[in-house]
């Protein structure tokens, strides 16, 4: 079975970014994630958006709507979702704070934050569905942080 690739793009604003979170939650539901796992996906995607644009998803107002944009790519497998959210349009990412890493550790199977690479600032996350033999979620040694702050 091949993975499904879903891509979306929204203005990098506090009112548009929840669409990415909602899409991620819908994909998690389709992938069979349970309620707790789906909430993890929502929390992690919200945090990724916060790292990139500085406002928690769904809160705050818009000041300017048509320049930077958030691009989200989801690769949906039978038991897992890989998500990449990046800030395009030349804008600088807001950056990580003290909570960012521990939130992503707690809610993803693995993640990487790349704010200093040659491309657009990006947060990638991997979510794995728990199974009957035990929950395989949790922090792994794969974490990478491109640049703090």
């Amino acid at each position: 079975m091949t993975d499904d690739h879903i891509a979306m793009q929204v203005p990098a604003t506090a009112t548009s970014s929840p669409l990415i979170r909602l899409a991620a939650a819908q994909l998690a539901a389709q992938c069979g994630f349970d309620h707790d796992e789906l909430e993890d996906v929502r929390v992690a995607v919200s945090e990724a958006i916060r790292i990139l644009i500085g406002a928690p998803a769904g809160r705050g107002g818009d000041s300017d709507t048509d320049r930077p944009r958030l691009v989200a790519d989801f690769l949906v497998g039978p038991r897992s979702i890989a998500a990449a959210v990046r800030l395009e349009g030349g804008a600088e990412a807001a950056g990580v704070d003290d909570d960012s890493t521990r939130i992503l550790e707690a809610t993803t199977s693995s993640f990487a934050i790349d704010l200093a690479g040659r491309g657009a600032p990006e947060v990638t996350m991997h979510f794995t569905r728990g199974d009957a033999d035990g929950d395989v979620r949790g922090p792994t040694p794969e974490h990478e942080v491109g640049r703090e702050g």
Partner: protein, 265 residues
Amino acid sequence: MPLQLVSTGRRPERRARFVDYHRNGSPDLRERLVKRHLPLARRLAARFARRGVPYEDLYQVASIGLIHAVDRFDPGRGIPFDVYAAPTIVGEIKHHFRDRSWDLRVPRRVQDLHLAVNTAVERLSAQLGRSPTIGELARAVGAADEDVVEAIDAGGAFNTRPILSAVPGNDDDRRPDADVMLAVDDAALDGVEDRLMIARLVEESPPREALILRMYFWDRRSQAVIAERLGISQMHVSRLLRRSIDRMRARLAIDGSTGAAQRPG
């Protein structure tokens, strides 16, 4: 049926404790007075249950009302403490209901479904012993899967006053001092004194629950602040905390029955 109040204020030794507390302001005595009257907070919270707010939230709010009542009660006026405290506690609960409001952009049907899903999550989690799937929730509330997901996602738009900030002397962004909240904390972690033991239990919790426990107990953030930081509803934070604490208590009971030798430190 009217609530039956058990008057304790007329008993001289109990009134003497209030007199003593108001004379010297002892935190220990305050804690004992609060703990002694927690059953009153529990009964009053139960009266407001099943109105869309989890009982545990209401109990927490009622406990804060009780703390206010202990602080403000004047034993010299000759009325029993319970008679004085009940309206204060009920007032706190009513404030809580009034201060909870939805973002106006969230349609009413989503608000209603959000509350129904929350109730179903609690019920099914208890029944199944695990987190329910979206399909199970959808069947329980009679809605489509995508509507359930939308309702879950709407949780971040449910605004709540930070419950624990209601204690005097504390700003809105931080949890109250440990001494002030000791009664509530003790109610949740009754009999747990070994912080090393708690730290170990927190580490053994599922990652997101461990994160929330650390934010709550170590960082001393209010449930509302945690909810906002994580983009989830305060109701959900409250439920996760409760579930974590219940699990920790169960683990403590098991460890206790297999011997204290397992305790670290």
